[in-house]
Amino acid sequence: MNKLEKRIETAKKKWETLDEGNKEPVIYVGAASCGRAAGALDLIAGINNFINENNIKARVVEVGCIGPCYLEPLVDIRFPGQPRVSYNNVTVKTLPMILKSHLMEGVPHAKLALGHFGTNTFYDIPRFFDLPMLKPQVRIVLRNCGFIDPEDIDQYLALDGYQGFLKALKASPEDVIGVVRQAGLRGRGGAGFPTFKKWTVCRAAPGEKKYLICNADEGDPGAFMNRSLIESDPHAVLEGMLIAGYAIGAQKGIVYIRAEYPLAIERLKTAIHKMKEYGLLGKNIQGSGFSFDIKIKEGAGAFVCGEETALIGSIEGKRGMPRSRPPFPAISGLFGSPTIINNVETLGTLPNILRNGAEWYSKFGKEGNRGTKTFSLVGKIRRPGLIEVQLGTTLREIIFEIGGGVQKTFKAIQTGGPSGGCLSEEFLDLPVDYESLASAGSIMGSGGLIIMDEDTCIVDVAKYFLDFTQKESCGKCVPCRVGTRHMVEILDRITHGEGNPEDLLALRTLGDTIKKGALCGLGQTAPNPVLTTLRYFRNEYLEHIKDQRCRATVCKDLIEYRVIKEKCTGCQSCVRACPTGAISGPRSEPHNLDVSKCIKCRSCYEICRFDAIAGDAIVIRTAEKRS
């Protein structure tokens, strides 16, 4: 038995007995970026205080994100020999109740518990994976997320980590490519290009030096799948890099990651350090003759660097501008060497395919779209979070079964971020796969799903996306640089109520031209949000233009704030909140709102909405049509 095998054996024992038989309970706290934003670090401090004060022997482990972000912060407690119990939306107030009951008395606080991870019934607590948000999901990439300590390689090893890579080492690189081909894995960065095809080209390309790049420059606003995966299970991505590196014959791997993800970078560094210690990185790995090294490069805040050739430019220390292809990076990429760029999720999937076999993986999904895809489900949805479903699941299942429906009335769903499209209600039964989404004018993209309801203005959203791509355009090619800017100007006019009917035709013509003429993916997809909304929400554009009306009461120039005299109790909260003195009136009498002074900052609306006494006395409504 070699050193690594011994380590795996110890890791497994350690995982089974939790703490080498010490019988200590373990408290897991979801502390990825999102958990931290919800207050996880305060809870950890609170737990440590509680343990010290009451002299309890217990271990606190920071885990990653398990997915249901709306339930954050999550605290799990596990006693050896008992299933792990998860508590949701824990606050400084409920924490002592949970700890007292579960830790001190040994009885789970069933009322505050969310679910348990056992197989049988446990008190009156439902099974975690039977919860409505979790049940329809298939967790392959996310299998360890929120479950293991991302900084402990032993926990990853205990759950069959690195088995896929070790299996790959025993096969030839060509066989590994064959397995990935048979599994039907397609690039999860959005374009859906078959992974094995890229690899085959790179493997066959002449050149001593080859590079493998992990694209973790997750720039799409509204998407956080890659951040979550790296923060919660960094070894899965790194193992995937080893497999891909072995298959294409690369000696060097680079993780190109956004600087905005400091925690993810930290976790990667820790993980790489551990891999070296365990002999999973470096020269002649596990005596196989395969040598591989992984480096981290931090991005510097440019959306366009998610594009392959721009990303390469950025690593080389240049301005991150795309260049025309061919030659494709698989033949001539980083420093002129053959280079493969794979997305975080593609790489995170590989260990599972290699470990369980192509046949197992191809059971998920549908013909031509095998496997699963992770999505970040956000916006006006009841249960926002990180999810993983089989390809071919319908939008309706995702929104209404997993997401629990929309806060108000469903209006649209945006897939694929700024490069994707806005789909209306009639597409709810569309299966989520690469081809179906493309046929509706949208794209799969990296996996952001943004739900919009009646309070979202479609024109404003289209303007938002285009404004984003316009600002991020690198300026190299004219269609993207000038075209997107012109489109933003038109949309800006429309949202100010100054549009004219010809604008819609101009938008479409411009959009089509940019799509055809732009150099890289950023420009070619930039008009999608406008073109799809023009197609499916034309009426809303017309309302803005003809009636100067914004039905969602979003466009500032087309709305006004009013006090409903019958509801106003004269509590003066809004008078104090108003920064411009637009609201006046004596106490206990309905207030006056001077529209000419109002800057529509929302302070009064918020105060009134949350005030139990008056409640909704201030409303935002569409303004009268201008004469």
Partner: protein, 149 residues
């Protein structure tokens, strides 16, 4: 001052692909990239100052003026936009009397927008220095600013 920057530079190799890491290292230490730093980097990496400005001005991360004591980053990712992030930015621009990307005259705050902090399920979010505050409202933000002097 030049001594200190030497200490930073020698941690890196002297090839062009080290330029961005070098700029990141310098900015981490000084908070911004000064003209002096640029000329030192230029000598160290043996590339022109022009080229360094060309690269550094391309990326949103690099700044060329001294930062304030606290940084405010308003997230304007899609989820935050849909949930009212732009209203928060408006309010800050008005309240602090600066435009996005500027520093208040008393050097108390830097105001910036970011494309996405990846906490979309808790939107809208605002980052103050290293801390992310979730589900922000105009009134919560007004109170929050008072903590940071």
């Amino acid at each position: 001052m030049p001594k200190k920057i030497d200490a930073i530079l020698t941690q890196y190799g002297r090839k062009q692909d080290e330029l961005i890491p070098v700029l990141q290292g310098v900015q981490k230490e000084y908070g911004y990239i000064s003209p002096d730093s640029v000329s030192m980097i230029s000598r160290y990496l043996r590339i022109s100052e022009n080229q360094i400005f060309g690269v550094s001005s391309f990326y949103a991360q690099f700044r060329f003026t001294e930062p304030g004591r606290h940084s405010i980053k308003v997230c304007l990712g899609t989820a935050c936009h849909v949930q009212g992030g732009a209203t928060l930015l408006d309010m800050l621009e008005r309240g602090l009397a600066v435009e996005c990307g500027e520093t208040t005259p008393d050097k108390r705050f830097d105001l910036e927008r970011v494309a996405c902090l990846g906490c979309c399920a808790l939107s809208p979010v605002v980052q103050m220095d290293q801390d992310i505050y979730s589900r922000m409202t105009v009134n919560k933000l007004t109170e929050l600013l008072k903590i940071y002097e």
